[in-house]
């Protein structure tokens, strides 16, 4: 049994390392994806174009404007002189936020009377909007304290669709990259592993060698292991590769235990390989396999909590996400990277992932067996 599996693995590696496309999938695309995601998909909000609508023209109002800019998150790019002009700037998207200081602000501050400023934020991009709200609130609160007053702050949001998130909890400097890169690692590994597994099996079917293998005394389980072990190893290699780049290039700290990361990756790969095998049993051609891979991959990423929190999804879809391996692995990998969670906290996710993996692998291998019949 082991000899045949070894023979399959050796063969698979010789093929993979001779195939330029496969080499690209293994070595180039994961790195490219990590770099692109690492740089582009930062939800850090910096240099928000802001209008300063100052109706007070006092020392205090100008000082508040300066403080806002000094925070580094806002740049004052306009100073409208009328409400209409201010509205135009927002409508045209010239600015994403407006700080409006009403007449009497400086006087009220000086007298110690409660007063208010308005921060108007374009809520189209809810993420940027909520971050802008958070930042401005901090700046204004600090300013109020410093000036010895309990300056009440009224916030007006337009349009008013904002969900404030408290996820900055474990990421106090709001470095969204720390939060995103572990997730990116998880989705890169998923794509690589799915593509390699699904394509390799279907390619054999396409060129006719699968039929040849099926008339040999090779057992279905040997065939399946021979077809999955190489890709499990390659996926592990990729995991190590992108994690290393994440840690050394993007300075992402790993707070938790690396052995735990290795173990949970194995559990994760189990279900991803299973899905890859399943795809290969329903596809006749490599194109079909590619299509099926993306038909699975895109919803799996969208409905994993990678970009949108699962709690905000419709309940029916929330139940659906229980079948998504990425959902569990994201919690695990983020937990290990960001919070230093141990198995005491992560075991429910790991158990669920293991169960899912075993079920998927079993289902795929049953289908695999049938095809041999």
């Amino acid at each position: 049994m082991f000899e045949r599996i070894k023979e399959m693995v050796v063969k698979e590696f010789s093929q993979v390392f001779r195939d330029r496309r496969m080499k690209a999938i293994i070595f180039v695309t994961p790195i490219l994806q990590l770099l692109i995601f690492g740089y582009a998909v930062t939800t850090d909000v910096k240099s928000i174009n802001t209008a300063f609508y100052d109706l007070d023209h006092s020392y205090e109002s100008r000082e508040l404007g300066r403080r806002l800019e000094a925070s580094g998150y806002f740049i004052i790019t306009g100073t409208p002189s009328s409400a209409k002009e201010m509205g135009d700037l927002l409508d045209r998207g010239k600015v994403l936020a407006v700080l409006q200081v009403n007449k009497g602000f400086g006087r009220d501050l000086a007298r110690g009377v409660p007063t208010e400023v308005q921060m108007i934020v374009d809520g189209t991009d809810s993420n940027t909007a909520s971050v802008a709200m958070d930042y401005s609130t901090r700046v204004i609160n600090r300013f109020g304290k410093e000036f010895g007053t309990r300056a009440g702050i009224q916030r007006v949001v337009k349009p008013a669709r904002i969900d404030l998130r408290s996820r900055a909890w474990y990421n106090p400097d709001l470095r969204s990259r720390n939060y995103n890169v572990p997730g990116v690692i998880a989705i890169i590994i998923m794509l690589t592993c799915l593509l390699l597994t699904a394509m390799a099996v279907v390619r054999e079917r396409e060129i006719g060698t699968m039929e040849q293998l099926m008339v040999t005394p090779l057992k279905p389980v040997e065939l399946m292991l021979g077809k999955t072990i190489p890709f499990a190893l390659i996926s592990y290699f990729d995991m190590a590769l992108v994690t290393t780049i994440g840690v050394f290039w993007f300075d992402i700290p790993i707070k938790g235990s690396i052995p735990l990361l290795v173990l949970s990756t194995a559990i994760y790969l189990l279900s991803v390989l299973g899905v890859g095998l399943f795809i290969s049993t329903i596809s006749r051609t490599q194109q079909q396999a590619l299509m099926a891979t993306f038909l699975f991959y895109i919803p799996a990423v969208l409905l994993s909590g990678f970009m949108f929190p699962i709690e905000n999804m419709p309940v029916a879809i929330q139940y659906g996400t229980y079948l998504n391996p990425l959902r569990y692995f994201l919690v695990i990998i983020r937990g290990i990277f960001l919070k230093g969670n141990g198995i005491d906290i992560l075991w429910p996710q790991m158990a669920a992932l293991l169960l899912l993996g075993v079920v998927v692998i079993m289902t795929s291998s049953l289908r695999f067996r049938k095809r041999l019949g």
Partner: protein, 308 residues
Amino acid sequence: MNHIETAVEFSGLTRIFGDFTAVDQISLAVGRGEIFGFLGPNGAGKSTTIKMLCGLLTPSAGSGTVGGFNIMTEAEEIKKNIGYMSQKFSLYDDLTVEENINFFSGIYRVPREKKRERKEWVLEMAGIADRRGALTKTLSGGFKQRLALGCAILHEPPIIFLDEPTSGVDPISRRNFWRLIYAMSREGKTIFVTTHYMDEAEYCDRLALIYRGKIIAEGTPTALKQEYMERDVLEIEVEQVVDALEVLEQSGIETAIFGSVLHATVTDAGQESQRIRESLVKAGLKVVRIEKIVPSLEDVFVTLIEVS
């Protein structure tokens, strides 16, 4: 020939795809050591039959044995005792010749001490000993075919299924390939081979003709020719072959084009040849020659297929 021991036998074998019956209740017995030819036009059901015998497809109905093992229940045992070369080229193009041999040798569990010997045998047999390190995709068709055969029989199976092994290969390579088949048959191996080529059919010990999923004739090449050719075949050489075909078919004579000549099947060569010559001349065609020939297998099959 030794017909006492059968290597392959089946009866009522049927395979249905959806509402289409690809193989329809066929029965055959192949003796040990025979070269058995399985002939038929495209889509007749040859590959489907072979796949059922090799355990690649489950029969919809029927029963049978290969090497004494039941095709319905003992597919795994069968796999240890057969070599199969599919119609499609089926080696790894991106592996070297040697890597392909090593791989299949491992999969077939050739004993360690025999591996080298078997490898050298395949390389020798395929005539590519000097190209062992070359990528398989760089070999020409004939060499690839022989390498594929070699890889399929590394484990020295007693029964060998070959599905159109020589399609797309030049005539010289085909002849070499058949020499190999003969050599294996002499060693006592049973060979079940499908083909399109009628000249290859003549090399077989026995033949079966399958058409639209049914076996319509079976026997040795000689017997088939005698049995099914009670009538005479006239070979007609004429300048405008297609026009001549039309003229003859209009006058109700069974005619088919064979290369650059026509073959007409008639009841009595003496009487008919005169009548044919006259009608062709009347139609303004130039007749070069008309003569009675010994029917080939192709004549037999064309006639058989036209009848059914």
